[in-house]
Symmetry: C2
Subunit: 331 residues, 2 copies
C-alpha cells in the first residue's frame, strides 16, 4: 500500500469536522472524499476541508477506488448498514461509537471484515488518550494493589428539543448509547475481563429513550463496575478505580480529559497529560499503523471489547425496556 492512507467520511456532521481536523494533523493520512444525503452538505464539508470528492450518495464514495478507509459518523442507527456496505466494498472501516445498535450487528461486521480482509475498529478515541494510558500503566504496575471496583458517572443536562438526535428514538437516541458507552468501554479497558452479570435500572423519557440509567457490571475476577448516566442531569463525570492500596481517578469528564490522579493514603499525585491535537489523532494513527503492518484489528480497541460492551448495552436496554425497533436492530 501507499504510505499515505486515503480516507472518506460518511455523515459530515459535527463529529466529522472534529475527525477531519485531527486527520489533517496526522502524517500519512489524507482525507479525500465525503458523502452525505445532501449534496449541499457534502459540498460545504469538502470545501471546508479541501476534499477532491463530495457525494450525495454513500455508494458513490464506496465506488471510488482512491478511498481506502472510511470513517462512519452518522447517527447510531445508520452505522451498521453503512459499515456493512463499506466492508463489502473492501474498505477499512472506523465507526463512531457505539459501533452498532446491538452486539449481533457488530458480530456480523466482524465476519464481513474477515471475509473482505478489512480493518474494522470502533472509534473509542478515549482509550488512546495519554492520561488514560497513564492510568493503565499505573494499574499494570499495581500502584493501587488489586483492583476491587470502578465507579463512574457520565451525565449532561442537555437542553435539546425532542427532535434532537439524543432525544430521538428513531435515531437510536438516549443516554446509554451516547454517554453510557464510555463508562462501559473504559471500565472494560481498565479491567480487561469478561462480564459475568449485569444489572440496570432506568427511566425512559416521554420520547421513549433512556434519560437516566444506573447499572452495575460484575466481571470474571469478581470486580464490580458501577456507573450512572443521564441526559437530564449534570453529573460528576469522574471515573474512580478503587484498589486495595489506592485509587486512580480520571476527572473531570473522564472520557475526554487530560487529568489523572493516583491516591495512596493521604498522598495524591495528579498528572495533566494534554493531547497532541484534539484527541482524535491517536485513533487515526493507530488505524493507519495497523493497516500498514497488515493488522485487521487494534490491540487498544479489539473486536472482543466492542462486542462485550455492545452485549452489556443490549442487556441494560433489555432490563430497562428500551428496544429501538426491528428496523434499527435488524442484522
Amino acid at each position: 500500500m501507499s504510505t499515505t492512507l486515503h480516507w472518506g467520511i460518511i455523515g459530515p456532521g459535527r463529529i466529522a469536522h472534529k475527525f477531519a481536523d485531527a486527520l489533517a494533523y496526522c502524517d500519512h493520512n489524507q482525507l479525500v472524499a465525503v458523502a452525505s444525503r445532501s449534496q449541499q452538505n457534502a459540498d460545504a464539508f469538502a470545501s471546508r476541508w479541501q476534499l477532491a470528492h463530495a457525494y450525495d450518495d454513500e455508494a458513490a464514495l464506496l465506488a471510488n477506488p482512491q478511498v481506502q478507509a472510511v470513517y462512519i459518523a452518522t447517527p447510531h442507527n445508520y452505522h451498521y448498514p453503512a459499515a456493512m456496505r463499506a466492508l463489502k466494498a473492501g474498505k477499512h472501516v472506523l465507526i463512531e461509537k457505539p459501533a452498532c445498535v446491538n452486539a449481533a450487528q457488530f458480530a456480523r461486521l466482524c465476519e464481513l471484515a474477515e471475509q473482505h480482509d478489512c480493518m474494522l475498529m470502533e472509534a473509542v478515541w478515549s482509550r488512546f488518550l495519554p492520561y488514560v494510558a497513564q492510568a493503565k500503566q499505573w494499574l499494570a504496575d499495581k500502584r493501587i494493589g488489586e483492583v476491587q471496583s470502578i465507579q463512574s458517572s457520565i451525565g449532561i443536562a442537555f437542553e435539546h428539543g425532542p427532535e434532537h438526535r439524543i432525544n430521538n428514538k428513531a435515531l437510536a437516541g438516549g443516554a446509554m448509547l451516547d454517554l453510557g458507552v464510555y463508562a462501559l468501554s473504559l471500565s472494560q479497558f481498565m479491567l480487561g475481563q469478561s462480564h459475568t452479570a449485569i444489572q440496570a435500572l432506568g427511566k425512559l423519557s416521554a420520547d421513549g429513550v433512556d434519560e437516566s440509567v444506573m447499572a452495575t457490571v460484575q466481571y470474571s475476577g469478581g470486580q464490580l463496575a458501577q456507573f450512572a448516566t443521564s441526559i437530564v442531569s449534570q453529573q460528576q463525570n469522574a471515573l474512580h478505580v478503587y484498589g486495595s492500596e489506592g485509587t486512580i481517578t480520571l476527572e473531570p469528564r473522564f472520557w475526554s480529559g487530560s487529568q489523572v490522579s493516583l491516591q495512596r493514603g493521604d498522598d495524591i499525585q495528579t498528572l495533566t497529560l494534554p493531547w497532541a491535537h484534539n484527541g482524535f489523532e491517536y485513533q487515526i494513527e493507530d488505524m493507519a499503523r495497523c493497516i500498514l503492518v497488515g493488522k485487521r484489528q487494534s490491540d487498544v480497541v479489539p473486536h472482543r471489547d466492542t462486542l462485550a460492551v455492545l452485549t452489556q448495552m443490549d442487556e441494560v436496554r433489555r432490563q430497562i425496556g428500551l428496544y429501538y425497533g426491528d428496523e434499527f436492530e435488524k442484522v
Copy 2:
C-alpha cells in the same frame, strides 16, 4: 417525667464512649448506668464517665427504675434481643445503626414499643447534622430543580484481622450493615419515598461477609440511588444528589462531615457547618425532646424509614447470598 432524661448504655465499646461524651454535652440528659458482659469493662466505663451503676448483666440495668432510656451499642446481632428486653422493661430505646439485622426484627420492636408506650429510634446520627439539614433545605427549596438520582460511595480499607467485628460473620459483620446502611439511609432521607426495585451485586470475603457491594434502588417517583460500599478499598465517600438544575454534594465522608456544596452550572457554593460537639448530641437531644412531649418516634428517623432501609438491606443480602444464620436473623 423529670426534665432530665436518665440513660443507660448497653455495650460499652468505642461507640458508647462517643455517645457518653455527647451526652455529657447535652442539657437535660444524664447517663447513670452501663451494662457489659464483663464487670471489669462496665466498671472501667462507669469510672471514666462517673456513672452510679455498672452491671455485668443487662437485666440488672433494665431492672433499675432510675434508667428511663437505653442506648444499645453492642455488635449488630445483639441489637434485637437487647432492644426487645429493654422495651419489655418499659425503657425508651435508641439503637445504634443498623437497628436490627433484618426488617422483621425491627417490625417486631415497633410492635413492642407501641405495646409498652416507649420511644424507639435508630441512631442514624448523620440525619441530624447541620450540613445534612442544609442539603435537605436546598432540596425543599428546589435549588437543584427536580431530583433525578443520587450516587454515593462509602468504602474504607480496613486492615483488621478476621476476628474483628467488621470481618466476623458471627457478629453480623461486612460492608452493608456497617457502611452501606449510611448510603441507603441518607438516600431515603433525601428522597422521602418508598422503593420499587433494588439491585445488588457483591463479593463475599473468605470470612463469609460482604467485602464489596454495589447496589441501585429505584424509588416510586422514578428516581434512582446508586452506591458502592467496601471494607477492602478506600472510596470517594461522597454523596451527590443530581437534579435537573444542579447538584448537591456531601463530601468528604458524606455521613460524618460538615461540608455541603450546591452547584448550578459553573457556580459552586460550599458551606462548612460544623457540629456543636461530636455530632451525636443532635440525636440525643431529639430523643429527649420527643419523650418530653410524649412522641414515640422521631420525625427525622421515623420507624418507616428504618424499616425501609432494613428491607432494602435484606434484599441486597439476598441477592449477594449473605445470610447470617437463623440464630441471628430470628424474630
